[in-house]
Amino acid sequence: MAERVLLVDDEKDFLDVMQERLSARGMDVSIETSPEKALERIASEMFDALILDLQMPGIDGMAALKSAKKMRPELQVILLTGHASLEKGVEAIKLGAMDFIEKPADLEALSDKIKRAKQNKMLIVEKMNQEKIMDMLRRFGV
């Protein structure tokens, strides 16, 4: 099954070409130029990975990361930025980002990270399901 990716960046030209290239690699890629709209989609659709620009008009990348993880703790978030600083990288990882990469990104490396993101998400969902089952069993005294 194809990896479902949501790409968010205020640069439409960047989004269009990334969508074309990642789709050619068999991924199901959606794009949004506004973080607010991206969060609306995250609330109503399921994605394996969210690729997020750090600096955008409106909500900035860190705030969008926080909101996305609050809504979907299992969602894997990769932050993409023009200038990666160590402090921002540490902050992003603390907030639950899977990775933090600098533009221009190597697409093959990004594709690998997206595939890994899907595996991570599946493991988390599986663990969450197991915990739910264990909780049910405990509640029914089995």
């Binding site: 640069e11 070409v17 409106g58 023009g82 533009k103 221009p104």
Partner: protein, 232 residues
């Protein structure tokens, strides 16, 4: 030079340079992906897929557009870098406003606030261009802290008999206008320029009143560099 002005100037230079490098990184990122797309298309053609010439043209146009955008950024960067070549020189205030609006566009864009330069008759005067740009930048920053997204900050200039005025306004600041956080360095810069800052909070309008007379000539200091506009 006053230490406050030096550090404010360095901070201004740093912010502009960081913003420009970010903008150029974005242009490079798109060009990088277009080059990658060409590689993908070549690979597909090598595997027997037919060559889509329209698609190739689109890639070529996209690269040209990015190069043109990057070139505009670099032209402004070059002019900005040369603004410190001479402490004082003759400047056309309208084109200086165009440049500062272009340099601050990214920072304003992150707040969703457009910057608009209102066309006006040419206004030429001898002043310190870097300090004046720094002062306008500080005013824009102060406006950005209270402006509502989607409401433009307007920059205007007008030459009058005794003075040249630069007005920076945003109609959306309304009730918050009294609380605008004007940077203390703005007053120091205005004083160094021999300018007066007039804040009309009801209109949300900051006016910089610059003397048409070169202040160094009045005080008998310095040599006048007649024209500092330079691109290399």
């Amino acid at each position: 030079m006053n230490e406050d002005i030096t550090y404010t100037g360095l901070g201004f230079f740093g912010k502009v340079t960081a913003s420009i490098s970010h903008e150029l990184k974005n242009r490079m990122a798109v060009i990088n992906e277009q080059a990658g797309l060409l590689e993908d298309l070549v690979l597909m053609a090598e595997r027997g897929a037919s060559t889509d010439f329209e698609r190739l043209k689109r890639v070529s146009n996209a690269v040209k557009q990015q190069v043109a955008r990057g070139d505009r950024v670099l032209q402004n960067m070059n002019r900005f870098a040369h603004s410190v070549d001479h402490s004082h020189c003759m400047v056309e205030i309208g084109s200086l406003l165009d440049m500062i609006a272009a340099l601050a566009a990214r920072q304003a864009g992150l707040k969703g606030v457009p910057l608009e330069v209102v066309p006006a008759a040419p206004a030429v005067l001898t002043t310190a261009p870097f300090m004046l740009m720094n002062l306008i930048w500080l005013c824009i920053e102060s406006f950005l802290s209270v402006s509502k997204s989607g409401n433009a900050i307007e920059l205007m200039c007008a030459k009058q008999k005794e003075m040249t005025t630069i007005s920076i306004g945003n109609a959306s600041v309304d009730g918050k206008a009294k609380d605008v956080d004007w940077k203390p360095a703005a007053s120091v810069l205005a004083s160094a320029l021999g300018a007066e800052l007039v804040w009309d909070y009801r209109k949300g309008l900051m006016t910089i009143r610059l003397p048409n007379t070169d202040m160094r000539r009045v005080s008998g200091r310095g040599r006048q560099d007649e024209n500092c506009r330079k691109e290399e």
